[in-house]
Homo-oligomer: 162 residues x 2
């Protein structure tokens, strides 16, 4: 009997506004497979607690975390790095806008670098691809990350092939 066993101050005990979510609900709302949520949890990107029957329950915060994971992934950031970034969020309390902003600031730099690299690549693509320089080490197309390389470890995934 949903709603009866709940003791919240609000009159609300149904799915729509209940605080905790099942894995299936999170999967549907975030458009991520249940297996992927299990996987993220095993990698420490999200967390849950268990019911007496050993089923996972998530706080609604997880929706934003999953959204961040997907957005970050679409820029090419590997899960390990996303995990590290998410680990900087406060433990226990729901992150504030400031917390999220701090997290995004680091990624923004990498994004800038990646955009710069791709832009240079694009601009040189037509010029270099047909000329003789491409097969040489000195070709600018082959060294698009000259400046980015100086940024150190943070930019490592920007150099996909080398």
């Amino acid at each position: 009997m949903p709603g009866t066993s709940e003791k919240k101050a609000s009159s609300c005990g149904d799915k729509k506004c209940r605080r905790e979510m099942t894995v299936g609900e999170v999967a549907e709302r975030s458009d991520v497979a249940v297996s992927a949520l299990h996987f993220y949890e095993s990698k420490g990107l999200i967390s849950s607690w268990r019911t007496s029957g050993n089923q996972r329950r998530y706080s609604r915060d997880v929706l934003r975390r999953v959204a961040i994971i997907k957005v970050a992934q679409s820029t090419g950031i590997p899960l390990a790095e996303i995990r590290e970034a998410l680990a900087t969020l406060p433990d226990g309390r729901t992150p504030t806008a400031k917390d999220w902003a701090k997290l995004s600031a680091g990624w923004r730099e990498e994004l800038d670098q990646r955009i710069l690299q791709l832009t240079q690549l694009r601009d040189r693509l037509e010029g270099c691809i047909g000329c003789g320089c491409l097969s040489m080490q000195s070709c600018p197309l082959r060294n698009p990350g000259d400046q980015a390389a100086e940024l150190g470890a943070g930019a490592r995934y920007l150099d996909v092939g080398s």
Copy 2:
């Protein structure tokens, strides 16, 4: 005795200007592991012929092909797609500048889309990451490829996460 067994019109038989290259020479010049060259060959991205002793020999054209492979990979294009693009190059003769330009034109569009996507992502990152919309399907940060989606199959690797 290098140079003696060669019958070229030119006086050149040494490594520097010999037409054919061993796998080790290609590896060194292109900064790619021998094992990777074998792998590319097994996947049909490059080709070679064999000596009487069953060793691979490459035409110098392979250097440019390998360079293209690395450049394309750095933009996120998977090997299967690179293979398809390289397959459009003329069979038998050395590709001309025009051949290469045609090949790069297709990639340029994808690159443009990818740059656009990342740019939008960057510009929306700070705005959306702290606000409530991120966990909703309608968040612009979660749908950066609205226009790109219309481009069809060619843009498929641009959507890394969805």
